[in-house]
Symmetry: C2
Subunit: 338 residues, 2 copies
């Protein structure tokens, strides 16, 4: 029994010119929409995650309190619940699934929010990593609708270095002959394992590994145990084509690559009216604070607040670093109260 | 016609308990050994490189001046010129080539220096990256022989994070079915290309990519052009088993993992009598300055001198960053004159 709802989008023409026919958006809501419809939080998903992997930040003891707020978690295209390579019939299945951008995702999420729920103001959009990418998109594409944003450990545009890191992940996955150009009968396990090992060096910082937080904080028995248990366990639970669809969405993420801004990145950033706290992690290897600083410098109503941590990108990961989560949650409370 | 010499080592028993039978060390010398035999510089190779890829730092206008010094460049086991998977007959060929450590390399290099040339004092050992790893080994294993060391962008022990980065490179290469457990008929090109893309994110810093130094400084036409031309071009010119042998040497590098120090890393560092300038690069993603700082704190006669640069690990690469090379060359001159 699914614990989520489906919003039928019909045929969705994407930025690529391709179409998702009979497109579906899976979503879950937490809490109740009040009569004024002014208690709305949109909380997009991160790379590979579903609404389930977002739930750790939703709690009565935290900022995202379902007693107060109506929290909508839309699933990204390609994550296996919304339309994805793994659940779309031929001929658009597998590696023939259309190329989707973060813009495409957010435009359809906007339809969910407005057409399904009749919402016209959003109190907050927040998200981690690719969820932050979508958060920036919400702010830039719907500046009059979004009152606050708190993107953490993510960017408004995929940097060239971030693009290269993802090239490594993709190439490792696709090096496995079992991938078969996407038309595999079984998941390409060797490629997924290789992609996991590539990812492992990026997800946490040098200091994380130096202080052995994988052993001392996360309880793994050895480095190899961590690489298999945490990293290979993660990607082996996913579909390879789905991962590649989301990876493409990530690599092509850019709030200015749309008709509103025509590639003018500074203009797109400066158009974000929302009050913003942008929270990179000091040791994030693919979303370094320097990129966030550039974003904030060009946003009219934003504050840069660096999370000082050795947890790298996973500072705001699902339950990995309790101290950093407190920092992020406190900022969410502060922003919501402002 | 080979431009290098071969030193016959006989049967070499390694730390692993395996033996390289009829082992050979390829080497090249530059300049002349003086009568006092006190003008000796040893300059080990970096990952995948041969003596040819070290020559950019040897010049009459630079510190490593062959008019003044007798410079010995020993080739690492596994680099294709010294005994390697690619040039060793069955049954020890390909992936059956013995596991070699940096300790094994340096102990045999010491035989070259003493048995072949009758040298008892070394004025300087220096090297980049894995060359720095061997430099630290020289200082720790032969503390009474080595007067000065200048390891740049390398470490005395492979860090856990560095180990993980290399796991990603290795897994990407081996994900290619054409690798065939090392018994390939042709080089596993898909795996080598994947490994190149993994490496590309690590070799240069986030800032390097942000400022587009690949285009503006190195002259590539696009990011993809850089990934293919620089990175894939590099690894496609190598033998996969050779790369994996050297990768294992790197991953297992540790100046204390030998009978002299029995795993006591601080003791090994504190035993290095050589006057040392340790030069990490400020933005090196796999040899971060923090690791070098720990080394220097535990060495009795060492100075930490961080190269401030956005070139990341390639600050001291073969001719890539002219400004950083000037900085390193100046430090070499200073150390040699002291």
């Amino acid at each position: 029994m699914a614990d989520y709802e489906i919003f039928e989008l019909g045929d969705v023409v994407l930025q690529s010119g391709q179409t998702i026919r009979g497109a579906q958006m899976a979503y879950k809501t937490y809490g109740k929409l009040n009569e004024a419809k002014d208690n709305v939080i949109v909380y997009p998903c991160w790379y590979s995650g579903t609404h389930l992997e977002n739930e750790w930040l939703i709690s009565e003891s935290m900022a995202l309190d379902p007693r107060k707020y109506f929290i909508i978690v839309p699933n990204m295209f390609g994550n296996g619940l919304s339309s994805s390579p793994s659940n779309t019939p031929a001929p658009y299945n597998a590696s023939r699934f259309p190329k989707v951008t973060a813009y495409d995702n957010v435009v359809q999420q906007h339809r969910l929010v407005t057409e399904k729920f009749g919402i016209s103001k959003i109190k907050l959009v927040t998200g981690w990593s690719m969820g932050a990418l979508q958060t920036f998109h919400w702010g830039a594409i719907f500046p009059d609708m979004v009152e606050r944003i708190l993107p953490f450990q993510g960017s408004a545009k995929c940097s060239r270095h971030n693009f290269v890191f993802l090239e490594g992940v993709k190439a490792a996955l696709q090096a496995d002959a079992a991938f078969a150009d996407g038309f595999y009968k079984e998941q390409p396990a060797k490629g997924l394992r290789a992609a996991s090992r590539v990812y492992a060096g990026w997800g946490f910082s040098q200091t994380f590994y130096r202080v052995e937080a994988d052993l001392k904080k996360m309880g793994y028995a050895s480095l190899e145990d961590f690489l298999v248990g945490f990293w290979e366990g993660w990607l082996l639970s996913k579909d390879a084509n789905n991962l590649l669809t989301m990876l493409s969405t990530w690599q092509n993420g850019d709030i200015s690559n749309n008709p509103l801004y025509g590639g003018d990145y500074k203009k797109a950033l400066s158009s974000i009216k929302a009050k913003a706290i942008v929270m990179p992690a000091s040791t994030d290897l693919y979303f370094p604070p320097e990129d966030s600083a550039f974003e904030v410098e060009n946003m009219p109503n934003a504050e840069l607040r660096v999370v000082k941590t050795y947890w790298g990108h996973f500072a705001g990961g699902p339950g990995t670093s309790p101290d950093d989560i407190k920092t992020i949650d406190a900022a969410l409370k502060e922003l919501l109260a402002s």
